[in-house]
Symmetry: C2
Subunit: 397 residues, 2 copies
């Protein structure tokens, strides 16, 4: 284990990254310290049939051995097939299997972010991503959205402002399709604009896409990653389309970044559960998962429709909401003067729970918002829950 002096001393850029900056320039100080271990490099050499290996410390008594930190090669190939539906053409060596896409995001943060670095995200955004960026000691700037997704002018302005303050953004974290918490999808036209803006500002994109295959109207959206695979790290997950409890997600990144992510994964867990990986691999290989997914979509679409019907039927004037084409969530905006955090205990007393919008902002915004999820309850429960919530809002004073 060596920490070459030149890596330690290498200065990091603090100005705007010019177009074409190599990815290595985005690495965190921590990532610069991650170097392949001599010991692990040796295991490959020792793995020849004529060699008696007294090198590795593998238990003999076990059916399920240690795997590679990058993940099962067969499963990585299957994952490339899944990503193809979002227009991504990937190679298995550019894929890292992770403990859900949450770990993928965490490892990306560790490899790319130093304390004080600026991350730009949608406002509102996924709550646990805010937790991951907080743990990485990054500063999060959240950019406004409308019903076509993040607003390009506001994104460009946020990049310019951060750069002018001497803290240029390093990452743009986005959930472009059926976003959590808004349910909103970034339009095709905006996708091109967003890519151009990030390219011009030298900002990398982390595209989190756990819901992309859960579309209830049109087909799948084309991933940002499909059009700029050298700038976009794509995060995927089997949690929403197979089972969260298996904890199989992945990151797809340019090869130079994938190599650092693999080192970070080795340091974080050595390797993921072989049992969980093989379960997903066998499922994808032997089961009609595309057909199963179609029936999953039908079941979620019924729930989405039940929620939209109930909102239209029961909500008092002044309440508005998003109309998601997929995913799990509707984002409600309450009438002026209603604070969702004060509304919540009243709603609970009336027998309905929601998440106040403030949880999805790092800066206290979202007081007039509520996230409603239609993924778990039955359609009739959704109807009842929305009716109860509408009554509590109507009684607000």
């Amino acid at each position: 284990m060596r920490f070459p002096a030149e890596l330690r001393a290498e200065p990091r850029e603090t100005s705007l990254q010019p177009v074409g900056t190599p990815l290595e320039h985005y690495f965190s100080d921590s990532a610069r310290r991650m170097v392949p271990s001599e010991v692990r490099s040796l295991f490959a050499v020792a793995d020849r049939p004529e060699v008696v290996s007294l090198a590795g410390g593998m238990p003999n008594a076990a059916a399920l051995q240690y795997g590679s930190a990058q993940g099962d090669p067969g499963l990585r190939e299957r994952i490339c097939g899944v990503m193809a539906s979002a227009g991504i053409s990937a190679r298995p060596d550019e894929v890292l299997v992770t403990v859900g896409s949450q770990q993928a995001l965490d490892l990306v943060a560790r490899v790319l972010l130093d304390p004080g670095d600026t991350v730009v995200a949608e406002g509102p955004t996924y709550v646990t991503a805010l937790g991951t960026f907080a743990a990485a000691q990054a500063e999060v700037v959240q950019v406004g959205m409308d019903r076509a997704g993040v607003i390009p002018d506001e994104l460009a302005a946020a990049f310019a402002r951060s750069a002018a303050e001497g803290r240029p953004a390093k990452l743009f974290y986005t959930i472009p399709t059926f976003q959590n918490p808004t349910g909103v999808t970034l339009s095709a036209g905006r996708r091109r604009q967003i890519l151009d803006i990030c390219r011009a500002a030298g900002v990398l994109i982390v595209e989190d896409d756990p819901y992309g295959l859960l579309h209830y109207g049109g087909g799948p959206s084309r991933a940002l990653c499909a059009d700029d695979p050298e700038r976009v790290v794509y995060l995927g997950s089997f949690s929403k389309i197979l089972a969260p409890g298996l904890r199989i997600g992945w990151a797809h990144a340019p090869a130079v970044l994938t190599r650092k992510l693999v080192l970070a994964a080795e340091s974080a867990m050595l390797s993921h559960s072989a049992l969980a990986q093989l379960t997903v691999d066998r499922y994808l290989c032997t089961q009609p998962w595309q057909e199963r997914l179609a029936s999953v979509r039908t079941s979620y679409r019924e729930r989405r429709d039940a929620m939209l019907r109930a909102l239209s039927a029961y909500m008092p004037a002044g309440v508005s909401w998003t109309v998601p084409d997929g995913g799990f969530f509707v984002w409600v905006t309450l009438p002026e003067g209603i604070d969702a955090r004060v509304l919540l205990p009243r709603a609970l007393a009336a027998g309905v729970a929601f998440v106040p919008g403030t949880g999805f902002y790092a800066d206290g915004r979202g007081t007039r918002n509520a996230r409603l999820s239609f993924s778990y309850p039955l359609p009739e429960e959704i109807d009842l829950g929305v009716r109860r919530l509408a009554a509590v809002i109507a009684e607000w004073r």
Copy 2:
């Protein structure tokens, strides 16, 4: 997601920690930023039968749901039972289930270490622990060992030196039982001394114990944690006694530290695989695992004996080695003038692999050492491998 100003601004101690310093004072800047999410706190409230929850984003289509970041409660209870054999009396709420003990170590590093912090470890030590400390940007000081484990006077001197240099050690990382890579076990007398020295210096202990149940002579060793549970974080694993590919390990820590570790785990992966956790839980509940472990010990003891016999039979004068009472490893010291890194390609050409000692030091020591593992090959392969290695050493010029 809020970052209270008083947590951000709280100054960290840089002098020696006085006896009785509360654990919160050891937290890293990153850990200070980890606060429970409003959204997750809400899920508990929303989980009442009379409430329609539109709060959580759980998929409905799945058999295996998201679990708690802390791990399955039943499995945590079973883990307390396993730790009892090392003299530890633990409660399930002081246990965090992790992706192998590697993730436990990584989370401990994230919660306790800031860049530049000093970690003291045995010299030599576990290679991937060095990787984890490097990723945490900590400085590692390695303290000498003899055949009774780490040398107390050298440990005390290292603490005093670090403190005098203004970088007092925060952690002592140790594998006291059947150490990787030396196979050495810290004697009972030294365990008491080490605890006293760490207590006096205000240094926390991370006790890594993956091999403790693989004893081939006496019974299990009493854990350091058993005698000072408020100072010692204990890391355990099912990798060596059940299956590495399940990736089930754990951390046992004082409650205030466990709570931060759970937040770190949530940020790192949301939760571990329910499938892997339930597999281990069911195995421990329904299978005669203690008897199975006894036969595993017998099988490893045969391999250990084969290696020690072969070393005695074949090694030329000037070669010495440790005699492990358990675990997987023998640590060989080569005659003056032989560099293990130069020896390795010759050994590979002769059909035997080992790990050069330099991999287990952060500072280039270990050139005259080799780690031999007896865990995986058959006894006759071990004999052949050691014979080949002895011949290559004898031919050194």
